[in-house]
């Protein structure tokens, strides 16, 4: 659905993209993560046809972004990092304008406006001026506007910036629903917990280039086939848990803090389940078990702490 090969874009000061590559299949929800100035916004802007690349190739929905920008725009919904709204227009006028800007013809136009009002939850406030809406409502309106022309792909640049926790949760649910509906999504964000919750894959970017995919990509629920890192939290004495761990060959305790253990095992998902079963049979009161390995925050910390700034 999105294919980026050796993309270069240079800005004054040396920032930009330096040979970034990425492939996203249809139906994926991919998170783009990296420090400030890593090139996330530049990549999303190039994919949305806002900026031309210096070299390399980028295709979105099988259209080349520089050769067929109009086709790309028709297939893509783009939400910029600091999106703007026309404060002095009413909510319905705002949506009508973008329905016309995307050349929606009747009856599709009216249906798209009604759907956007429903999606944003602003049906009762459609006569309000946009400036009267809170940031969270504006973000919902913008997302609804972005979806008006039924794009196959969503490019979201820091969509949760400035939102309060409730608005963030609502946005997360909305993205989950859109993903479930078959829309391919590329979202950049600094809020790793949100990405961990919703993304099927997370790609790390630093200094405009890929950070090793093997090191950083993460599939939610997937467990590395060779080495397994399990986090166990339990109540009561650790002796029963230690006895179970002692019976498993190649098991290694990496971390021990009160009722919390981090253990490295050899094997896959089945071995993790078997380990949990043995703990329960041995009478250990398990209150939390996670065999997904280190979380995104931990991976991020490890990756970027090791990189020279």
């Amino acid at each position: 659905m999105i294919e980026v090969k050796d993309l270069h874009k240079e800005f004054r000061g040396g920032r930009g993209l330096k040979g970034f590559s990425l492939e996203i299949e249809a139906g994926e929800l991919v998170g783009l993560v990296g420090p400030n100035g890593a090139g996330k916004t530049t990549l999303i802007r190039i994919l949305s046809t806002l900026q031309p690349a210096d070299s390399g190739s980028a295709t979105v929905a099988s259209f080349d972004v520089s050769g067929k920008p109009a086709s790309v725009r028709a297939a893509v919904g783009y939400l910029p990092d600091v999106p703007g709204v026309y404060q002095d227009t009413r909510v319905d006028e705002f949506l009508e304008f973008f329905a016309d800007a995307f050349r929606l013809k009747e009856p599709r136009r009216t249906a798209a406006i009604e759907r956007a009002l429903e999606r944003s939850g602003l049906e009762d406030r459609k006569q309000d001026f946009v400036e009267q809406l809170s940031l969270g409502w504006k973000q919902r309106l913008l997302l609804a506007k972005t979806l008006m022309h039924d794009p196959k792909i969503l490019l979201l640049d820091e969509p949760a910036t400035g939102l309060d926790p409730l608005a963030r949760m609502a946005l997360r649910e909305e993205l989950k629903q859109l993903h479930a509906g078959g829309i391919t999504i590329l979202v950049s964000s600094h809020i790793l917990a949100d990405l961990e919750d919703i993304c099927t894959r997370v790609v790390f970017i630093a200094d405009g280039a890929n950070v090793s995919e093997a090191e950083c990509s993460m599939r939610r629920g997937a467990v590395a086939p060779a080495t397994l890192r399990c986090q166990v939290e339990f109540e009561g004495p650790a002796s029963a848990a230690d006895a179970v761990i002692g019976r498993i060959a190649d098991a290694r305790v990496l971390e021990r803090k009160g009722g919390r253990l981090v253990i490295e095992l050899q094997g896959g998902a089945k071995d993790a389940s078997a380990f949990l079963g043995e703990l329960l049979v041995a009478g250990v009161t398990v209150i939390h078990f996670d065999a997904r390995g280190p979380g995104l925050e931990e991976r991020y910390r490890r990756t970027f702490e090791e990189r020279p700034s």
Binding site: R45, T49, Q51, R73, P80, G84, E93, F97
Partner: protein, 276 residues
């Protein structure tokens, strides 16, 4: 053709412009200024003691005085307002961060430019037409032909459209409205004052060489062709009319300047992703 007329940018811009306070404030101020100067011109025209002695007043004199005063006041006032309507049209989208939304929609760059241009010109036309009743007062006194009215309005519209195109170019070039508006006023100053000063030097050199300021050739007047007031000078009766007799060259230059500014603005707008 339908796409040009049913451009969603035009509807959006008109709606936004008409909701602003200046939508009623500027026409009010404009009409006050034009009415005031018309009244002043009328009182001067009927003053029998002008020039130090008694003279006979004819209706045609009053008609011509009102007509000339109104058309020159109108063009000066509208020239001062043109940058306000045009030079902030694109920068406001950059400042409000709404330009990415436009550039990633299916609106083409010419459509975005056209929407901004049409609305800027329409607002100036609204002001121009609101001054028409004052212009037609001159017909009541006589001395003015309907073709002169058509000529004056046509010239004014062409010059204003060209200045609006220049304003939009400034707007596409800069990130901030204050900078683009200042740049547009700077260019306007060059077109009005600097061209007049250059013409003054050339005319003075010509009259010193030839011993007379009569029948100045086109190259001496050339700097004035870019002066927004030049096409209207041909309307002025008497000797000046004979002197400034190249309005067509001026019209063509303004049309060319407008087209160039439009092309540059669209090109810049297309590449404005790097400016966001």
């Amino acid at each position: 053709m339908t796409r040009i007329i049913s451009n969603p940018m035009i509807r959006k811009e008109l709606r936004q412009r008409l909701r602003e306070r200046r939508a009623w404030l500027l026409p009010t101020l404009y009409l006050l200024v034009v009415s005031g100067t018309t009244l002043f011109a009328y009182s001067l025209a009927i003053d029998q003691t002008i020039g130090g002695g008694q003279r006979e007043i004819q209706g045609a004199d009053i008609g011509i005085a009102i007509f000339m005063t109104v058309i020159f006041t109108q063009i000066v006032a509208l020239l001062l307002m043109a940058p306000v309507f045009s030079a902030a049209a694109i920068t406001i989208e950059k400042e409000q961060r709404t330009l990415p939304g436009l550039l990633t929609s299916l609106l083409t760059t010419p459509q975005i430019w056209w929407g901004k241009f049409v609305v800027a010109v329409l607002f100036l036309l609204l002001l121009l037409s609101s001054g028409l009743p004052l212009l037609t007062l001159s017909f009541a006194f006589g001395g003015v032909e309907p073709m002169q009215l058509v000529y004056a309005i046509g010239s004014t519209v062409l010059v204003l459209a060209s200045i609006c195109a220049v304003g939009l170019w400034c707007s596409a070039m800069f990130r901030r409205s204050v900078h683009s508006t200042a740049a547009c006023y700077g260019l306007l100053l060059v077109l009005t004052v600097v061209t007049s000063v250059i013409f003054g030097f050339l005319a003075s050199h010509w009259s010193n060489t030839n011993g007379s300021a009569d029948q100045m050739p086109a190259y001496v007047q050339a700097p004035l062709f870019l002066n927004p007031l030049y096409p209207l000078l041909a309307l002025v009766s008497g000797d000046i009319r004979a002197e400034f007799s190249y309005p067509l060259s001026s019209w063509l230059l303004f049309a060319a300047m407008g087209c160039l500014a439009a092309a540059f603005a669209m090109r810049r707008l297309q590449r404005s992703g790097d400016q966001l």
